[in-house]
C-alpha cells in the first residue's frame, strides 16, 4: 500500500497526462450508442484531473520553490531528448485552470448529441496535449504536446461547430501550424546554439547554461514570439481567433479561449523570457506596444459586434493583451499580474462561453439586437454573466481587478515607454466596461421580447460550470493571496 502511494506520488504528473489520454481511448472503444457511459467517463476523468491539480496546488513546497514533482526518463539519448516532467508555481496555476475548465466544459457539453463519443474523445485528446505543455520540462516534448493540443481542434470545430465552421476550422488550424513552424525553428536554434556541454532539449540544463550569443537571442526570441504569439492572439495575427471561437462548440470555445491561448503566452514566458532573457529585454518595448494595441483593438472590435459570441471572442483578444503587457514588463509585479491574468481570464472567458452556449441553446440566436429582457426568464444565467462582466473590466472584489492592477503597477514600475503604455491600457478598461455593460443591457435587461416565450433558466448539469466558475472569480478577487504566493515562487526565477 505504501509502495502504491509512493509510486503515485512519484508519477503524479504522468497520471495527470494519463487520465485524459486513457479517457480518450476508452471513449473511442465504447459503443456508439453508449452516450451516458461516454459522458460519465468524461466526468470521472476530468474529476481525476481536478483532484491531481488540487494535490499539486497544496502539496507544492512553496518554501523551496523551483521545479518540483520531477520525472525524467531518457527518450532519445543521442539527441539529448528525455521524457522530463516537472512543474513550478506558474505551471501549477495553469494546470489548475485547465482542470477547472475541462471539468466544467464536460458538463457544459452534456447535451452534445451528435457523435457524442467522438466529440469527447477528441476533446480529451486535446486536453492531454494542454496538460502536457504545462508540465513538460523538455523543449521537445513541450512542442510535441503543443501540436497535440492544436490538431484535434480542427475536427472539433469542423464537425461540431456552427456557422462557417469549415472555414473557421481550417483557418485556425493553418494559422496555428504556421505558428508552430516558427516555434520549431526557434527551438532548433536554442538546441544547436545554446552554450551547453552537449546539445540538449532539457529545459533545466538549458536554463543553467551560460546563455548564448546576444544577436542570436534576439533572432530566436522573435521567432518564438511570432510563433507562440499567433496562439496567444497577438495583433495582427489574431484573426483566426474570433472566427474560430465563434464557430466552435461551447466546450471547445471555453477550452480554446480559456486555456489554449494561454499556451501561447506561457510559451513566450517560459521559453522566450526564461531562456532568452537578453532577447526578451531587447524586444520588450515592441511586445508591450503590440500588447496595448491588442487591448485597445480587441475592446473596440468587441464593441462593434452584434453577435454575442463574437463579442466574447474579441474580448479574449483584448484580455490577452493584458497578459502580454505583463510579460513585457519583465519585473516581478508585472509577471505575477500576467500569470494571474492568465488564470483569471481563463476562468472568466470559460464562464462567458458557457453562458453564451446556454443562451444560444435556449434562444436559438446569438444576434444581440433581437434579444432583450432575458434576465427575467433566466436569472441564474444573468447573474453569472454579470459576475463575469464585472471581472472583465476589473471591478474590485473580482479576480480581474487583482490581475489588472498588478499588470499596470508592473508597467508603471518598468518605467520609460511602459508608463505611457500603461496609460493607454487603462483606457482599454473603459472601453471594456462599455461593451460589457452594453451586452448586459441589450441581452438581459430592458423589456422582454415576447417571441422568446418559454425561455428556461439553466438546468441540472448546466449549473456546474456557472456556479463553479463564477464562485472562483469572486474567491480569487477576495482572496488572491494563496494563488499569488504560488505564482510568485516561480516568477522569482525569471527576474534577476
Amino acid at each position: 500500500m505504501d509502495n502504491a502511494i509512493h509510486w503515485i506520488q512519484a508519477h503524479v504528473l504522468t497520471l495527470l497526462l494519463a487520465s485524459p489520454a486513457a479517457a480518450s481511448v476508452i471513449m473511442m472503444a465504447l459503443p456508439r450508442a453508449a452516450k451516458l457511459a461516454v459522458r460519465l467517463t468524461a466526468a470521472v476523468a476530468s474529476g481525476a484531473t481536478v483532484l491531481i491539480a488540487g494535490y499539486l496546488f497544496f502539496a507544492y513546497d512553496r518554501g523551496a520553490g523551483g521545479i518540483q514533482f520531477i520525472e525524467k526518463v531518457a527518450w532519445v539519448p543521442q539527441l539529448g531528448l528525455s521524457y522530463h516532467l516537472g512543474v513550478d508555481g506558474i505551471g501549477i496555476s495553469l494546470v489548475v485552470l485547465t482542470a477547472f475548465i475541462i471539468s466544467t466544459g464536460s458538463f457544459a457539453s452534456w447535451t452534445v448529441e451528435h457523435r457524442t463519443k467522438e466529440f469527447y474523445a477528441a476533446l480529451f485528446a486535446l486536453v492531454t496535449g494542454v496538460f502536457g505543455v504545462f508540465v513538460a520540462m523538455d523543449l521537445f516534448f513541450f512542442f510535441l504536446f503543443y501540436e497535440i493540443a492544436v490538431l484535434p481542434m480542427y475536427l472539433l470545430i469542423g464537425i461540431w461547430g456552427t456557422g462557417p465552421k469549415e472555414y473557421a476550422a481550417l483557418k485556425l488550424t493553418l494559422y496555428l501550424l504556421v505558428g508552430s513552424a516558427f516555434v520549431l525553428v526557434g527551438l532548433f536554434g536554442i538546441y544547436f546554439y545554446a552554450d551547453t556541454p552537449r546539445h540538449t532539449f532539457d529545459f533545466i540544463e538549458l536554463s543553467r547554461s551560460g546563455g548564448f550569443n546576444l544577436g542570436l537571442q534576439r533572432i530566436i526570441f522573435v521567432l518564438l514570439y511570432v510563433g507562440f504569439g499567433i496562439l496567444a492572439g497577438i495583433w495582427p495575427l489574431h484573426t483566426w481567433s474570433p472566427d474560430g471561437h465563434a464557430s466552435a462548440p461551447t466546450a471547445v470555445s471555453m477550452l480554446h479561449a480559456g486555456v489554449l491561448m494561454k499556451l501561447g503566452a506561457y510559451g513566450v514566458l517560459r521559453i522566450g523570457v526564461g531562456l532568452l532573457p537578453a532577447g526578451a529585454q531587447f524586444w520588450a518595448p515592441l511586445v508591450g506596444g503590440i500588447a496595448v494595441v491588442n487591448i485597445l483593438y480587441g475592446a473596440m472590435s468587441a464593441m462593434g459586434q452584434t453577435d454575442l459570441k463574437y463579442v466574447i471572442a474579441y474580448s479574449s483578444v483584448s484580455h490577452m493583451g493584458v497578459v502580454m503587457l505583463g510579460i513585457a514588463t519583465l519585473n516581478a509585479v508585472g509577471l505575477n499580474g500576467s500569470v494571474f491574468q492568465m488564470f483569471s481570464h481563463g476562468i472568466m472567458t470559460g464562464l462567458f462561453f458557457a453562458l453564451v452556449g446556454l443562451v444560444y441553446e435556449k434562444a436559438h440566436t446569438r444576434d444581440m439586437p433581437s434579444m432583450g429582457g432575458f434576465a427575467s426568464r433566466m436569472p441564474g444565467i444573468a447573474a453569472a454573466f454579470t459576475i463575469g462582466g464585472l471581472a472583465s473590466f476589473g471591478v474590485p472584489g473580482t479576480s480581474g481587478f487583482v490581475a489588472e492592477l498588478l499588470v499596470f503597477l508592473g508597467a508603471w514600475r518598468a518605467g520609460g515607454i511602459f508608463t505611457y503604455l500603461a496609460i493607454f491600457a487603462v483606457f482599454g478598461i473603459v472601453v471594456t466596461a462599455t461593451y460589457v455593460l452594453r451586452v448586459l443591457q441589450r441581452v438581459f435587461l430592458g423589456p422582454f421580447k415576447e417571441h422568446y416565450e418559454g425561455l428556461p433558466d439553466a438546468r441540472t448539469t448546466e449549473w456546474v460550470a456557472l456556479v463553479v466558475l463564477a464562485a472562483l472569480l469572486i474567491l480569487l478577487g477576495v482572496l488572491p493571496g494563496p494563488m499569488i504566493s504560488l505564482i510568485d515562487t516561480a516568477v522569482r526565477s525569471f527576474v534577476p
Binding site: 473511442m28 527518450w75 532519445v76 539519448p77 543521442q78 539527441l79 467522438e118 521537445f140 512542442f143 510535441l144 501540436e147 497535440i148 490538431l151 480542427y154 475536427l155 469542423g158 464537425i159 469549415e166 476550422a169 481550417l170 488550424t173 493553418l174 501550424l177 504556421v178 513552424a181 520549431l184 525553428v185 532548433f188 538546441y191 544547436f192
Partner: protein
C-alpha cells in the same frame, strides 16, 4: 577468396519464393489470388524473420561484388516489409481483378530480390543489374489491368521513362569508370580519398568527366527517388497502375533510389561530398516546393499521394544532403516509417475503391461514418505523412530537420518546415471529407481481412515508432561504416 553464399540467404530465399509461387499457380491453377497472396506474405514474413535474425552476419563475397553489411541489412528489412504488406493488401484485389495471379506475385518478389541485391552491391555493375531487375519487374505490373487503358498507358510510360533513366545512369557509370578505371566501390573510394588528400583535402574531383558522370548518376537515381525535376512520370503512373502496385512502387522504388544514393555517394564518392551535397540540397528544395504546391489542387487521391510522395522525397533528401552520420541515419529512419505510412494509405485507397469504385477525394465523404476503423486509420496515416506528433512521421521529419540544421542548411530546413504546413492543408482536405462531411451513400464499407491486417500493422508501426530509439540505433549502425575513414 571463397564464395560465402550464406550471406545471400534472404536474396536466394526471395527468389526461391517467387519461383515457388509461380509453380504453385501452375500446378494448382484453382488456388486463386487470395491464397497465393497469403502464401507470398507468409513466405516474405519468414524471410523477413531470417533476415532480421541474421542481421549480424556481415561480410563481403562474390569477389567484392556483394557486400552484406548493416546498410544492406536495413534495406532488406524495408523491401521485405514492403512486399509482405503489399502482398497482403493485394490478396482480395488480385482475386477479383487479375486473371493470372501467380505472375503478379512472382513479379513482385523478383522486384524485391532485385532491390535487395542492389542495396548490397559492392560494384557499380551489380548495383545497376539489381536496380534493373527490380524496376523491369515493375513495368508489366504497372500495366497489369489489360482492360483498363489507363493502366496500359501507365505501364508504357513507366517503361519508356524508366529506360531513359537507366540509360542516363549507365552513361554516368561509364564516365566514372572511364576516369577512375574501376567500378568497385572500395577502389573508387580509396582513389578519390587519395586524390583529395594529395590536394590538401579540398575539392577532390580530378576532372570534369567525373563531375559529368556524377551528374548523370544523380539524374538516373532521381527518377527512382521521384525528385523534381525527374518526377514527371510519377503522377500518371501512380494514377494508372493498379492501386496495390502503386503502393509497392511508391515505396519500394523510392527506397531503392535512396538506397543507391546512400550506397554510391556516401560510399565511393564521399570525398566529393562538397560538390554533390549541394546538388542534393537543390533537388530537395525543388521537390518540397513543387510537390507540396501541386498536391493542393489534386482531386484524385492517387495523384495527390503521388505529389505528396514527390514532396516526401524532398524531406528525405535533407538527411543525405547533410552528409553527417545523423543525417544519413535519419533518412533511413524516414524511409522505414514512410514504407508503413504510405502502404497503409494506399491500402485505404484500395479498400475504398473496391467497395465504392471511387478514387476521387470527394468519394471519401463520410468515410468515418461508413467505416470508423478505415476512417481512423486514414486519419492517423495522413497525419503521420504530414508530420504531426507523436506519430512516426513527425520523428522522421524532426530528425532530418535537426540533421539539416546541424549541417548548416538553414534555408533548406526553413523551407521544409513551411512546406510541412502547406502539406497539412491537402492532407486535411481528405480528413475533412472523411470526418466532417456527411456521407452521400451511407452503406458501410467492408474491409477484407488481409487488408485489415495490413492496416493494423501499418498503423501499429507508426504508433510504435513514436518511441524511435531502437530503429534509430539500427539506422545509425547501418550508416556508420560510411563515415569511418
Amino acid at each position: 577468396m571463397p564464395i560465402d553464399l550464406s550471406l545471400l540467404i534472404p536474396e536466394i530465399a526471395a527468389c526461391g519464393l517467387a519461383l515457388a509461387v509461380l509453380g504453385a499457380d501452375l500446378i494448382w491453377p484453382r488456388l486463386g489470388g487470395r491464397r497465393l497472396g497469403i502464401m507470398t506474405a507468409v513466405g516474405a514474413a519468414a524471410i523477413l524473420l531470417v533476415a532480421f535474425l541474421r542481421r549480424d552476419a556481415v561480410g563481403v563475397t562474390l569477389g567484392g561484388l556483394f557486400i552484406a553489411d548493416a546498410y544492406a541489412g536495413f534495406f532488406r528489412l524495408i523491401f521485405l516489409a514492403a512486399v509482405l504488406l503489399v502482398a497482403l493488401m493485394s490478396a482480395d484485389f488480385v482475386e477479383r481483378e487479375v486473371r493470372r495471379p501467380g505472375e503478379y506475385y512472382t513479379l513482385l518478389l523478383f522486384s524485391t530480390t532485385g532491390f535487395m541485391l542492389m542495396a548490397a552491391a559492392g560494384d557499380l555493375m551489380t548495383l545497376y543489374l539489381g536496380l534493373e531487375l527490380g524496376t523491369i519487374s515493375l513495368y508489366p505490373l504497372a500495366g497489369y489491368l489489360k482492360r483498363e487503358p489507363r493502366s496500359g498507358e501507365a505501364g508504357l510510360k513507366f517503361m519508356i521513362i524508366g529506360a531513359a533513366s537507366s540509360a542516363t545512369l549507365l552513361y554516368g557509370i561509364s564516365l566514372i569508370y572511364g576516369t577512375l578505371g574501376t567500378t568497385v566501390f572500395a577502389d573508387l573510394r580509396r582513389s578519390l580519398f587519395e586524390a583529395s588528400r594529395s590536394i590538401g583535402g579540398g575539392w577532390a574531383v580530378p576532372d570534369s568527366a567525373l563531375a559529368l558522370g556524377m551528374a548523370f548518376v544523380i539524374a538516373g537515381f532521381s527518377f527512382k527517388m521521384v525528385a523534381v525535376p525527374f518526377h514527371m512520370w510519377a503522377p500518371d503512373v501512380y494514377h494508372g497502375a493498379p492501386t496495390p502496385v502503386t503502393a509497392y512502387l511508391s515505396v519500394a522504388s523510392k527506397c531503392a533510389g535512396f538506397a543507391v544514393v546512400g550506397r554510391v555517394f556516401l560510399g565511393p564518392l564521399l570525398a566529393t561530398a562538397p560538390q554533390w551535397a549541394m546538388v542534393l540540397a537543390g533537388l530537395s528544395f525543388a521537390s518540397m516546393f513543387y510537390g507540396n504546391l501541386v498536391a493542393i489542387p489534386q482531386t484524385n487521391i492517387k495523384r495527390m499521394l503521388a505529389y505528396s510522395g514527390i514532396a516526401q522525397a524532398g524531406y528525405l533528401l535533407v538527411g543525405f544532403a547533410a552528409v553527417t552520420p545523423l543525417g544519413a541515419a535519419s533518412t533511413l529512419f524516414y524511409l522505414l516509417q514512410y514504407t508503413f505510412t504510405n502502404i497503409g494509405a494506399f491500402t485505404v485507397v484500395t479498400v475504398v475503391a473496391q467497395a465504392t469504385g471511387r478514387e476521387d477525394i470527394a468519394g471519401y465523404s463520410g468515410l468515418s461514418r461508413r467505416s470508423p476503423a478505415l476512417g481512423f486509420a486514414l486519419l492517423l496515416l495522413l497525419l503521420s505523412l504530414g508530420g504531426i506528433p507523436p506519430l512516426a512521421g513527425f520523428w522522421a521529419k524532426l530528425y532530418v530537420f535537426a540533421a539539416g540544421i546541424g549541417a548548416g542548411l538553414w534555408w533548406l530546413v526553413t523551407l521544409g518546415v513551411l512546406t510541412t504546413v502547406i502539406s497539412l492543408y491537402y492532407y486535411l482536405m481528405v480528413i475533412k471529407q472523411a470526418y466532417i462531411f456527411d456521407p452521400v451513400d451511407t452503406s458501410p464499407i467492408p474491409i477484407p481481412r488481409p487488408a485489415a491486417l495490413t492496416l493494423l500493422i501499418c498503423t501499429a508501426a507508426i504508433l510504435v515508432l513514436a518511441y524511435p530509439q531502437p530503429v534509430l540505433s539500427l539506422a545509425e549502425k547501418a550508416v556508420r561504416m560510411f563515415f569511418v575513414r
